[in-house]
Symmetry: C2
Subunit: 165 residues, 2 copies
């Protein structure tokens, strides 16, 4: 009878411990998954003429003649990046989550991540996007929009995208 | 002996269920606590001459003659708000977390929260800050800084701050 009690107790303890552990593992998995923090709606998928991979853009402030500033958010899925492009009055990028790359033409690819701030001067070619494994959430600010907003160029080939040191 | 087995099993089940539940409750409490998501370092405490309560400012982009745009982040603790002020070229606010208030002089107080975008025209008086119970994380964008950045006025009294409908 004593050994029966031991067996029953062991089974109950194991079953409960497994149930408890399973529920905790699910919560840890939820926290660990690489879904980025979204502040804004995802927006519209970027055209394949100007983006490689899946990038989504939502405009937050349209350029007008008073503030002369355009603001928006782009979410790049892992591997996604913009084409080479330039801005007649330059651009500021504010990275709000994830990890990605930014390159000004003629300079090495730089790693950008949550909290990074990037300035690109007027009429200088650059590209930006997510890293290969983690996506990127970034705000863009285009100042002095009376000078123009963006001029798009060619796609960024894999050998350039993957040249990050 | 059978009743002994029942008692022992009941005690084990209760103890394990309580331990499991307790650990889960701690995780839920962690998710519920009202600490806001910080993208940037907290920065410096705002002066009592220009803020009521505890507000912290970090500059992200200093105004220069090329991009002519200043960007920064302000974290307002619950109850904290700016004085009345105006910007010679206007201002854009991007709310990245929390809940707060914004008022343009002569208009009702509006509630702003994570994902809100606010535009204030040039030379128009406004104030912004956290709600009474929840803090506010907000990016500010000041365009065309060659015209000036900010002109500070008087503090926002409680009866104005609490007039939100």
């Amino acid at each position: 009878m004593k050994s029966n009690l031991t067996i029953v107790c062991t089974i109950i303890i194991c079953a409960l411990a497994m149930a408890c552990n399973n529920s905790r593992n699910q919560e840890i998995m939820k926290a660990d998954k690489k879904e980025l923090a979204a502040i804004f709606p995802k927006g519209e998928k970027g055209l394949s003429e100007t983006f490689t991979g899946n990038a989504y853009n939502i405009g937050l402030v349209d350029a007008d003649s008073i503030l002369t500033t355009a603001v928006g958010n782009v979410y790049f899925e892992p591997g996604a990046r913009s084409n080479w492009h330039s801005h007649p009055a330059g651009q500021i990028l504010i990275i709000t989550d994830g990890v990605g790359y930014h390159q000004i033409e003629g300079r090495p690819v730089e790693i950008i991540k949550k909290g990074s701030v990037v300035k690109c001067p007027p009429n200088v070619r650059h590209w930006h996007g997510a890293s290969e494994d983690v996506g990127l959430q970034q705000l863009y600010i285009v100042p002095n929009t009376e000078k123009g907003i963006v001029n798009w160029d060619e796609a960024v080939p894999d050998e350039v995208y993957k040249s990050v040191k």
